[in-house]
């Protein structure tokens, strides 16, 4: 009798980026403090409020900034010993506008391809392809300096893609874009990550952008990692979140919820999101309000969002 062989162990995929105890200081100010993180293949969001250290991390990974301590690996290569090999395999879309002056879009993108080692003919062909892909096909012979903000974002993506990188660093890719352009950009990013096999790190402070494109997230705050992991896992089990609004005594309700061990996040409006522990439900929320003599005007079951994860990790947003 043949013994059935055990099912193959599903090994965790090798991370594309790892940081081990990385600290970066600008003078006396610490931008990153002993950051240890790993980015899995696929689309990973790098979230954090302004000044959290996201862009510093990207720049350190690119070798622009030398960390005060710690080690970093990108695609299995050490950033300090193999920076050029790393840069030949990554694409970087910077946060602020950047282009080579005096060039039209197709020349600029082809030039970037050549800088990355593509032969001139291949670089030109790739430039046309990626410009069509990012939606600048019709405007590819226009000088980049005449482009609108949205078009400049697209061309930055094109120059990052032209040499077909294995990993993309996208630093605030939807900055300054109108809603339609933003949706198109996010669709491109999602397509790259999910259909074209390009790993990417999407650095943003816009939670919906990250939630739309990424499966994993690394949240930074004040130069440290606040939390990291798969978004679905971080969100926790469904059905334990309620949006509630009291007639009066909003602050009392918040205090009562917190005293009862319910996690409570206030939103921009007078609605707050209450996270009820496992096994409890709306009944307990009503009971709490009744006990405090408060009238609930609104109670609606909700789903945990990335905003909740972010708020939990960083504090109320």
């Amino acid at each position: 009798m043949v013994e059935p062989s055990p099912p193959p162990a599903t090994a965790a995929p090798e991370p594309v980026v790892t940081l081990q105890g990385v600290s970066v200081a600008y003078g006396k100010a610490w931008a990153m403090r002993e950051v240890t993180a790993s980015f899995r293949p696929g689309a990973v969001g790098l979230l954090g409020p302004n000044g959290a250290g996201k862009s510093t991390m990207i720049k350190a990974l690119l070798g622009f900034i030398k960390p005060n301590q710690g080690s970093m690996r990108v695609l299995g290569l050490d950033v300090t010993t193999a920076p050029l090999e790393i840069r030949s395999r990554i694409g970087y879309m910077p946060e602020n506008d950047g282009h080579i002056p005096g060039m039209n879009a197709v020349s600029f993108v082809a030039y970037c391809g050549e800088l990355a080692g593509l032969r001139p003919v291949d670089a030109m062909q790739r430039a046309h392809e990626v410009l069509y892909y990012v939606g600048l096909g019709e405007a590819r012979y226009r000088n980049v300096e005449t482009y609108s903000t949205g078009m400049k974002q697209r061309i930055k993506l094109a120059q990052a893609l032209v040499h077909d990188p294995d990993l993309l660093f996208l630093d605030e890719p939807t900055n300054g874009m109108d809603p339609k352009g933003r949706d198109e950009m996010l669709a491109l990013i999602r397509d790259l990550a999910h259909n074209k096999g390009v790993n990417l790190i999407l650095c943003s402070h816009l939670l919906p952008d990250v939630e739309h494109c990424c499966d994993h997230v690394v949240v930074m705050d004040k130069g440290r990692i606040a939390t990291q992991g798969p978004i679905e896992e971080l969100k926790g089990p469904r059905g334990r979140v309620f949006e509630i609004r009291a007639k009066d005594g909003h602050d009392r309700l918040v205090a009562a919820c917190r005293a009862a061990g319910f996690e409570c996040h206030e939103t921009d409006e007078d609605v707050m999101r209450v996270f009820v522990p496992e096994g409890l439900g709306a009944r307990e929320v009503f009971a709490l309000a009744a006990h405090e003599g408060l009238q609930l005007r609104h109670l609606r079951p909700s789903l945990p969002t990335l905003e909740d994860v972010f708020a939990k990790a960083v504090g109320d947003v």
């Binding site: 002056p101 990355a116 032969r119 291949d122 892909y133 040499h163 074209k196």
Partner: protein
């Protein structure tokens, strides 16, 4: 509906070995400049002295009555000294925007996110300027030497003045290196090409004016040390074996030139970065 889906495809072609990026930068820079009519006109004008010298060589080698104008080693020294004017204009025209324009357009982060080093970037920019400067100094001077031999029907002059080959090369390269690195250093310090051009012109004229004042007022023997052009001229005299125009030792002039080159390189090292950190 497009016939062919213009989607993103992975690249299956080859890539060049690393270390070639400076050539890409230089090639692009040279192409950009050659596309400008004004620059082509400037290049053409900068060769006028060469054509004049060719006519002179032709006359002196073929007509005895012009023998008083015969070519000597001094001719080449004077030729290269005259070309300094064009070196000045071309340095400003080509060099002022080489790095400053990239800084203005935040292009450094684009360049340095590609597989090239800062050294390669500077080398590419330097090559762009140096090619044009050598094209108005070393190239016409060498051609003049060859044309002298061709018009004379013998290379006796070259054989007798064999030192001219290294002299022209060393002096032209010194001239070009100084102009190139000084301009690149200035260009890396500003985001305005116009301002860089003014700074460069100011540097040349101001130091020359200081030299003139010191020479007139103090009659100091080392006054030429304050002016890069005077130091270069002093070295040029020594290289071409003509009596030096200043009392300053050539070694001191060379030290000043080397010092300027080192300062320029240090500035470039500090300024050419993917990110500007203001601590």
């Amino acid at each position: 509906m497009p016939i062919h889906d213009q989607g993103y495809r992975r690249y299956g072609g080859g890539k060049d070995a690393r270390g070639q990026a400076w050539l890409v930068i230089a090639r692009s820079g040279i192409k950009t400049m050659l596309a400008r009519r004004l620059f082509l006109a400037l290049l053409l004008v900068s060769w006028i002295r060469f054509f004049y010298e060719c006519i002179r060589v032709y006359l002196t080698t073929n007509f005895g009555q012009f023998s008083v104008l015969a070519t000597t080693a001094q001719t080449f020294r004077e030729f290269l000294e005259f070309q300094e004017l064009w070196v000045f204009f071309i340095t400003i025209y080509v060099g002022a925007g080489l790095i400053s324009n990239d800084r203005r357009a935040n292009a450094l982060q684009i360049y340095l996110s590609k597989p090239l080093t800062r050294f390669e970037y500077v080398a590419g920019k330097a090559a762009t300027l140096a090619v044009f400067l050598l094209g108005v100094t070393w190239l016409p001077a060498m051609l003049l030497l060859v044309i002298q031999g061709l018009f004379a029907g013998s290379f006796a002059f070259i054989r007798e003045h064999l030192f001219l080959l290294p002299a022209i090369t060393v002096y032209a390269f010194l001239q070009v290196m100084l102009a190139t690195f000084a301009m690149l250093a200035l260009s890396s310090m500003s985001k305005s090409a116009r301002f860089v051009g003014i700074m460069y012109a100011g540097l040349i004229f101001f130091t020359d004016a200081i030299f003139g004042m010191l020479k007139f007022l103090v009659k100091a023997s080392g006054a030429s040390l304050v002016s890069p052009t005077q130091n270069l001229a002093q070295l040029g005299d020594v290289i071409f074996r003509v009596p030096p125009r200043h009392e300053t030792p050539a070694v001191a002039s060379l030290t000043v030139i080397v010092f300027l080159l080192v300062v320029s390189i240090v500035i470039l090292e500090r300024k050419v970065r993917g990110v500007e950190v203001v601590a």
